[in-house]
């Protein structure tokens, strides 16, 4: 039996235990490699110009490496601790520390680099798929072809080689710093220190929950118009972040055990098996993992939040494009409109034209602005005004005004009410009006509205105001010209014509398809990057929770032995374990989901028009992927319970 034999045997034994680690390693290498391949791919060149796709990919690959490196190093600390007894044994039979280090290194070398090679192979096969997903998301219609890039290979090998060296360095320090006796003891120093609840802990537990709730509450009023100054807003955001993160930490440190302890107290010492396995174990364990759980919760909340927001933006592209320009195309000057329609005729493209006269009027909105923000503007706004004759399906009486095309963000900031008294002012005139409602659909382009609502008034009022215009307020054009293409298949062609006429460069000339494309491509890229980073984080943090569960399981194995001797069946124990894992994985998940829900809810209107569908989809997806690790850990426990007697 020589050293190589020992290495080989260890490897065989370890792979069975660490398949998830190997999987996570392969996965991260594959992802990294495909990211880098994309970066080196010539197909990205054309994409590069517009939104710096490659730069974004490059930056995110750095983040990816950071996540993966932290994960691998952390996982390594767990594993080396588990093997400390073995290391002690090797020392006991006379191997030098250097020799042991060499054994560990070569063992890791084989495991690590074969995973990397598999990862690179998979990454290359998947990079085309990933490129296809990216193209699909950003709406680019290009053929996804990829060539193997030696640059990408080199970069991947260098980066993961460095991580390997770091791991080795860590192992070296671990072995060097330990004596034989202390190595034998590492495992037996349990993480938990079972103690009764002190008053301090109860206070910590309560404080944690209060802080989280306070953060949630403040986040819900963050953009309600009560806070206006930039510094005030910024300070409030910092407060929310701090309060929620510290609250989360205290929650794990105290609240969980506080709540569970209360449940336990109520049982008066008579605990059912499910309580024994879930409550009593989690009570003490969550406390010792508080920091880790806080980090995992916070980062996953961040990932879910960002992903939800970018998906909201992506999902609402069409709506927000329609908000910017209500028709497919809009030009400012009538002669340009003629040029455009002529060209359309030339290509046999049908179209419909909408013209609306728009005047800019100062309006006193003191009666409908709820926030203090109005004061800063003297409670007046310059609003575009349109006659109700020119808007289909709208008819208001001479005393009434209808706001339309209102913007979510504006509504939130100013807390605009949808009814109330306003006053429209011409140069000399001042006409009081009753605001009867706020509609979402825009009737003129952003060029006229600048994001403010458009006021629709009765024709007679419009005529009065038009006679009494303040020339300083008027824009270059006083007519909104919108052109629609009823045949959707012709839209692309029309957009090309629009572009060829040079309209796309000029302000006030807008094309809905181009807007949609622009936003889809930038939001698509952000979604793509956040999505994959989030996935990496999800998988690595899931693995860490799983490894923690492995450790916990090993430590609790004697308990299962006792319980089985007392006459509990494997099925009984497994049911208790399932409940325990429901808490173990469920609590961080639910806290993370709640955090991201409140984060998204406080500011989603800045990103798009639809909150629920995108957010729920992201959350469900996250929950489903996350649950896989919970199931895997239950399977692990099942084996453990079976072996325990």
């Amino acid at each position: 039996m020589n050293l190589n034999y020992i290495i080989f045997r260890n490897l065989k034994k370890n792979i069975k235990n660490y398949y998830l680690y190997v999987f996570a390693l392969i996965f991260s290498v594959a992802l990294y490699f495909s990211f880098v391949t994309l970066q080196y791919d010539p197909a990205m060149e054309e994409y590069k110009g517009s939104i710096k796709g490659a730069a974004a990919l490059g930056a995110s690959s750095v983040l990816l490496v950071a996540i993966v490196a932290v994960f691998l190093l952390y996982a390594n600390t767990i594993f080396i601790k588990r093997r400390s007894k073995e290391i002690g044994l090797f020392q006991l039979i006379g191997l030098t520390k250097g020799r042991i280090f060499r054994i560990l290194s070569s063992e890791n070398l084989i495991l690590y680099f074969s995973s990397i090679l598999i990862g690179i192979f998979l990454g290359f096969s998947f990079s085309r798929l990933i490129l296809m997903i990216l193209f699909k998301l950003v709406g680019l219609e290009a053929q996804a072809t990829l060539s193997f890039s030696s640059g990408a290979l080199r970069q991947t090998l260098i980066v993961f080689g460095c991580i390997y060296l770091l791991i080795m360095l860590m192992n070296y320090m671990f072995i060097k710093g330990q004596s034989i006796l202390s190595l034998f003891r590492v495992v037996s120093t349990a993480e938990i220190r079972v103690k009764r609840m002190s008053v301090l802990e109860i206070l910590i537990g309560l404080l944690g929950m209060v802080m989280i709730l306070a953060g949630y509450y403040v986040s819900s009023i963050l953009f309600s118009g009560k806070l206006t100054g930039t510094t005030e807003l910024f300070a409030t955001m910092i407060f929310i972040l701090g309060s929620v993160i510290i609250g989360t930490y205290l929650f794990y440190k105290g609240s969980v055990s506080f709540i569970f302890n209360a449940i336990r107290k109520s049982k008066g010492g008579y605990l059912s098996l499910n309580h024994v396995l879930s409550l009593s174990s989690i009570m003490f364990r969550m406390k010792s993992n508080a920091l880790l759980l806080t980090i995992i919760t916070t980062v996953s909340a961040l990932a879910i939040g960002l992903l939800s927001l970018s998906y909201i933006a992506y999902y609402s592209t069409e709506q927000s494009a329609r908000h910017s320009v209500p028709n497919h195309f809009s030009v400012l000057l009538p002669e340009d409109a003629a040029k455009f329609t002529q060209a359309l005729n030339g290509e046999n493209i049908e179209y419909t034209e909408t013209r609306r006269d728009v005047i800019q009027i100062e309006a006193d909105v003191a009666g409908i602005v709820g926030s203090d923000l109005g004061e800063e503007f003297g409670n007046t706004m310059i609003l575009p005004v349109v006659s109700d004759h020119q808007v289909e399906g709208v008819d208001v009486s001479p005393e009434e005004t209808l706001f339309t095309g209102s913007n979510n963000a504006l509504n939130q900031f100013m807390s605009l009410r949808s009814t109330g008294q306003i006053e429209l002012r011409g140069l000399t005139l001042s006409i009081p009006q009753q605001l009867v409602g706020v509609d979402k659909d825009a009737v003129v382009s952003q060029y006229f509205s600048l994001g403010l609502p458009t006021a629709i008034v009765d024709q007679s009022i419009y005529a009065q105001l038009a006679q009494d215009l303040d020339p300083k307020l008027q824009s270059k054009s006083s007519v909104y010209i919108g052109i629609d293409i009823p045949d959707a298949s012709m839209l692309g062609k029309a957009d090309a014509i629009f572009h060829d006429l040079g309209f796309s460069e000029q302000s006030g000339y807008m094309s809905q398809p181009a807007l949609i494309f622009d936003q889809k491509s930038s939001m698509g890229l952000i979604m793509f990057i956040v999505g994959f980073l989030g996935l990496t984080f999800l998988i690595t943090s899931g693995c860490i929770l799983y490894f923690k569960q492995m450790d916990e399981g090993e430590e609790e194995k004697p308990n299962y032995t006792i319980l089985r001797k007392l006459g509990f069946t494997q099925g009984n124990l497994l049911r208790g374990i399932q409940i325990k894992q429901l808490f173990n994985f469920g609590i961080p998940l639910i806290v993370g989901l709640l955090h991201s829900y409140f984060a998204v809810k406080s500011g989603w209107f800045l990103f798009g028009t639809e909150l629920w569908t995108p957010m729920v989809i992201v959350m469900l997806l996250y929950t489903a992927l996350y649950s896989i690790f919970g199931f895997l850990s239950v399977l692990y426990y099942k084996r453990l319970i079976k072996e325990s007697l």
């Binding site: 079972v194 010492g269 008579y270 069946t569």
Partner: protein, 251 residues
């Protein structure tokens, strides 16, 4: 009436090429209310015997009946059911769950049997004051002494009135004062509620508290001693003498 009846039990480990026979045909009868101890040198098979008698390990051959029921052919699920109805355990290293308080540990066997809470409380009060752990009911195992831990373990074994209690070196990790405390309590309970106890030990003092001592050697019963009307000191001397004869390698 015999509570436990083991006939011709064999236990061997390994495969057919390399067989290690640990128990080689043991017959044992334990009557209700007996306090039996099993003694023997290291490797004599006494712990294996206890394990098979208590259904934790399976016999290779032979049958074991507890209260007339043979459990050697039972499936895992039936066995678990059987254990929780009929058996109680006391272990050398206490085997208490660290995360539970003394009371919670003791009440554990009742919770699987779906006993009402009120009844459980009554039971606990009775057995805990008997064993002198009532005052520490809400403490965690790492806050109490070894002797208290072992008495907690004993309370857990007695709480559900099992047909028979198995104790594996219960005094092995205790100092002599705690050990004699525990043994006194055990023999008191043995007399008072007519509990049946089988204890494995290598300590002659501990064995002298019993009503009968069974000596095991090389997987077979070597001899048995009955206490009868003797004093404990006398019985102790008998045990020492037998052990002396038994102890030699040459025998």
């Amino acid at each position: 009436m015999a509570i436990l009846e083991a006939t011709q039990i064999h236990k061997s480990y390994g495969n057919k090429f390399n067989k290690q026979e640990v128990l080689r045909g043991i017959d044992l009868r334990v009557e209700k209310g007996e306090f039996v101890s099993i003694m023997g040198a290291s490797g004599s098979g006494k712990t294996t015997l206890l394990n098979v008698l208590s259904s934790i390990d399976k016999v290779s051959l032979g049958s074991i009946k507890i209260e007339g029921k043979d459990f050697t052919g039972m499936k895992e699920k039936e066995l678990a059911e059987f254990r929780k109805q009929h058996l109680g355990f006391i272990f050398q290293d206490y085997n208490l769950l660290d995360t539970l308080t003394v009371k919670e540990n003791v009440l554990l066997p009742l919770s699987i049997m779906k006993v009402s809470k009120k009844e459980a409380d009554q039971k606990f009060q009775q057995i805990a004051s008997e064993l002198g752990i009532y005052e520490i009911a809400s403490k965690y195992p790492n806050e109490i002494s070894g002797g208290q831990k072992q008495r907690t373990s004993a309370a857990r074994a007695f709480i559900h009135d099992p047909s028979i209690i198995f104790a594996d070196e219960p005094t092995g990790a205790l100092d002599s004062k705690s050990a004699s405390d525990l043994l006194n309590k055990l023999s008191e309970l043995n007399r008072k509620i007519n509990a049946t106890i089988i204890m494995v030990t290598h300590d002659p003092v501990a064995a002298s508290y019993c009503s009968r001592v069974v000596f095991i050697k090389d997987g077979q019963i070597y001899t048995q001693l009955n206490k009868g009307e003797e004093t404990r000191q006398h019985f102790f001397n008998d045990i020492i003498r037998t052990q002396g004869v038994l102890g030699g390698v040459q025998a």
